[in-house]
């Protein structure tokens, strides 16, 4: 049609019609957003989910923020929230005599500061040794709370010593037990503490020695960072572990969701669109998959695979694509009959074009909702598996479920590791559910003006 031939038909439409349509330039996303906004819970879900994602991304920063790395063999095991590392030892009088008992009861690696009131130069650090333990002077039962820092006053208040005469060891250290160790600022490869600082202001840092013979720096001396959420059974800071756990959980969730969506949508679309034989075949495959107990098989195999992350993702994908596929197939079966699909055929569009350009965008609603909701499901599944001990290797990788697994043993005495990791799972799943619900309401029912 060239411009020459088109003798124009008068524009029959009302000139006022511009007002009618000008109310908003509705695109799909702006409508979606305005409807989504109305659901308070959905916004909450969105915010929580975003926070989780940010948490996962900045997990390495948490090491720096809290001062504790993800994994370090700390001595401060099972400490409550808001505590600082230290060692609490109840030393019974009898055990002084028995160094072996000491070691087996309380473990090794406890080091103490020694100082002499009369002669502050005689200050040092070391392990209780045979000499100390055999000292008949310590016949009474003392509770030593070897806390890191506080002021000296406090410390002195806690330590109840009456007249104790200290015998000097041949090294010149007095055996006056005070304070624990303090700010752990530097670690070596295996996470061992190499810097120590006295629990009190040392008159002279040169007096302070470390086990490796270094002189600590000025800024190494200071209060130990607080374990905001406490520590778990291995002494790792829980907050840091939660952050790293978020990473793993979200990686699993997002990758499984994307993979199942991709496989499921493509297969479901083909089945739903082609119908008849292809569809029947597809349904049989789905039924087959449902009848195979995937998860128990996974549980068995995972031990052989050594709890690898990729294997977990693989199994979840293999078990999970059926859901997405079935949903897509159902939607396509009904959408296929819509008039615009017929119109596309009438124009001469190829089946692939109809499927992906026409039907798929219109079936996004349940797909998006399904994907969001399944994030929660996947996190729960993974956590459950880890909790049962079949998940990812908890030693190498931190996951929330792994933390639960580990915390389960002492949940009655020290519930906080379990509580916090459980809480994280709960919040994330809740957020994904809210988000999914909000999206479902925002996308459906279709607006029909």
């Amino acid at each position: 049609m060239t411009k020459k031939d088109s003798k124009k038909i008068t524009v029959i439409d009302n000139p006022n019609e511009a007002e009618i349509l000008s109310s908003a330039d509705y695109s799909f996303f702006s409508m979606l957003w305005s409807r989504f906004r109305r659901h308070k819970l959905a916004i909450v879900g969105l915010i929580l989910m975003t926070m989780m994602i940010i948490l996962a991304i900045i997990a390495p920063l948490f090491d720096i923020i809290t001062g504790y790395p993800e994994k370090h063999t700390g001595l401060d095991k099972k400490m409550p929230p808001f505590s600082r590392p230290g060692v609490t030892v109840n030393i019974k009088a009898d055990d002084w005599q028995n160094p072996e008992k000491w070691k087996s009861e309380y473990g090794s690696g406890y080091k103490f500061w020694f100082t002499n009131d009369e002669d502050p130069t005689l200050t040092g650090y070391g392990e209780p040794n045979t000499n100390t333990l055999n000292n008949p002077k310590y016949r009474e039962y003392y509770d030593f709370n070897l806390k890191p820092f506080g002021s000296i006053d406090l410390l002195q208040k806690e330590v109840v010593f009456d007249d104790i005469t200290l015998e000097q060891e041949d090294k010149g250290y007095s055996e006056f037990f005070t304070g624990g160790y303090a700010r752990i600022k530097r670690y070596n490869q295996t996470g061992e503490i190499i810097t120590y600082a006295p629990p009190f202001e040392a008159p002279d840092t040169s007096l302070v020695k470390t086990t490796t013979g270094e002189t600590p720096r000025e800024d190494d001396l200071g209060p130990a960072p607080m374990h905001v959420l406490g520590t778990d059974g291995s002494g790792h800071d829980i907050l840091v572990r939660l952050a790293w756990g978020a990473r793993i959980s979200l990686i699993i969730a997002i990758s499984v969701v994307l993979l199942t969506a991709f496989i499921g949508i493509v297969l479901g679309a083909l089945a739903g669109f082609n119908g008849a034989f292809v569809d029947a075949l597809f349904m049989r495959v789905i039924e087959l998959m449902y009848s195979i107990p995937m998860l128990p098989i996974y549980m068995v195999l995972s031990k052989f695979m050594g709890g690898s992350l990729l294997f977990l993702i693989l199994i979840f994908t293999v078990t999970g694509w059926t859901g997405m596929a079935r949903m897509t197939r159902n939607y396509f079966l009904s959408l296929k009959k819509q008039e615009y699909a017929e119109a596309a055929r009438a124009i001469g569009a190829s089946p692939a074009r109809i499927m992906f350009k026409h039907l798929l965008p219109n079936s996004l609603t349940p797909i998006i909702v399904g994907m969001t909701l399944s994030i929660g499901g996947i996190i729960i599944s993974e956590s459950s598996l880890s909790f049962l001990g079949f998940g990812i290797n908890p030693i190498t990788t931190t996951t929330w479920g792994g933390m639960l697994y580990e915390a389960n043993g002492y949940i009655m005495d020290q519930p906080w590791p379990a509580v916090f990791s459980g809480l994280m799972i709960f919040i994330t799943v809740l957020a994904s559910n809210f988000l999914g619900d909000g999206l479902r309401d925002a996308l459906d029912p279709r607006m029909k003006v």
Binding site: D13, N14, N16, E17, E19, S23, R38
Partner: protein
């Protein structure tokens, strides 16, 4: 001969409060229905014709809709002021309504007889399939079952057979179902007794609409509101239903409020016609003269723009009304029709016309078409 006014709607206003704004669905509507007459309410989609009658029945969804002001006098009593349970008694008994889609207006999981009988038991106290009958049927069933082991004895067999027959007829013999069968015959469904136990999906569209009419007629209402009742039907079935409505009207002296967008249907059926546009009545008068001399430009435009099956084809184009029905969220200032009106003046663009009475016709127009006009 001025017949008695049984329904008098005065200045009815029904608004819908949505998140996108307020929609004045029914704006200052006043209509009267006389005893035994048919009032046709004509208009296009969104003009408020259905909402007017739904307001009369107080079937407006309270949020987002609300009957803001006005009076609906049924035999002098204001329906908007009576308590809800009294309204419920009026609904279905004195004023009943049938809808466009008989497919969805009937509950698919209940037999047709049950649905009609429900109205009878509620309003007329006829005995339906109640507890007494259920207990009786149970008793009969177990008795029959108990007879089975002895069916080698001839007399027992005979009794069992009779009992079974009685059991299957039991439902049909309840007073409510008997009356229902009469109603179905009245609406022209043959083999009524068998049809009672049909489910809606077993019936065709025309038959379902007849069932709807039977349901609506069951309590001899004074007013039957038909909301686009024949729009979804084939034209031959539509003719049957229209004739049926005319026959019922003659037989029972019932008034009909016929809501439709089809001018031909309204021409055939109505005594009086109200034309609505954007929630307001723009023309209201008796059918004969309205069709002969339409005064409002909208009515005039509609009548001239529809193609005719009874007149030879013209070679030119059809006269049209320009433009489209206005957006209810953004109604024009002044006369709501002025953007499309070929007789619009400056006054029309600024001031809303009032409903004036001229020669027995109510017209809402500053520049109405009088005899000898354009």
């Amino acid at each position: 001969m001025e017949k008695e006014v049984i329904l008098d709607v005065k200045n009815l206003r029904t608004y819908f409060y949505t998140s996108d704004g307020v929609v004045p669905a029914v704006e200052d509507v006043s209509i009267q229905i006389h005893k035994g007459e048919t009032l046709g309410i004509v208009g296009e989609s969104g003009c408020g014709k259905s909402q007017t009658m739904l307001s009369v029945m107080r079937l407006i969804q309270e949020p987002p809709g609300k009957i803001v002001s006005g009076e609906i006098l049924f035999h002098g009593e204001n329906l908007l002021k009576i308590p809800v349970n009294k309204m419920r008694r009026i609904r279905g008994a004195n004023i009943s309504m049938i809808f466009q889609e008989p497919m969805t207006s009937l509950n698919p999981v209940y037999q047709v007889g049950d649905q009609i009988a429900e109205s009878l038991t509620l309003h007329q106290g006829l005995r339906g399939w109640d507890l007494g009958y259920r207990v009786k049927s149970w008793g009969m069933f177990w008795t029959w079952l108990g007879m089975l082991p002895f069916s080698f004895l001839a007399p027992v067999r005979e009794n069992a057979r009779n009992l079974k027959k009685k059991l299957s007829r039991l439902k049909v013999e309840t007073p409510a179902w008997q009356r229902t069968a009469e109603l179905l015959k009245d609406v022209g469904i043959s083999d009524a007794e068998r049809r009672l136990s049909n489910y809606p999906f077993e019936m065709s569209g025309g038959m379902r609409q007849r069932v709807m009419i039977a349901m609506a007629m069951s309590c001899n209402p004074e007013i039957l509101i038909a909301d686009e009742a024949t729009t979804a039907l084939d034209v031959t079935i539509q003719a049957q239903i229209l004739e049926l409505m005319k026959a019922l009207k003659r037989k029972y002296g019932m008034a009909i409020a016929l809501i439709t967008h089809n001018l031909a249907v309204v021409a055939e059926m109505s005594d009086n016609i109200a034309v609505m546009y954007a929630g307001k009545i723009v023309e209201y008068g008796d059918a004969m003269s309205l069709f002969k001399t339409p005064m409002h430009p909208y009515t005039w435009g509609l009548l001239h723009s529809i193609p005719r099956v009874d007149e030879p084809r013209t070679d030119g184009k059809l006269p049209t009304i320009e433009g489209m029905v206005p957006n209810p969220y953004n109604l024009p200032v002044g006369c709501k029709f002025h953007p499309r009106c070929f007789r619009a003046t400056q006054k029309c663009k600024e001031i809303e016309p009032t409903l004036d009475t001229v020669n027995g016709r109510q017209v809402r127009c500053w520049n109405m078409i009088t005899e000898g006009g354009n």
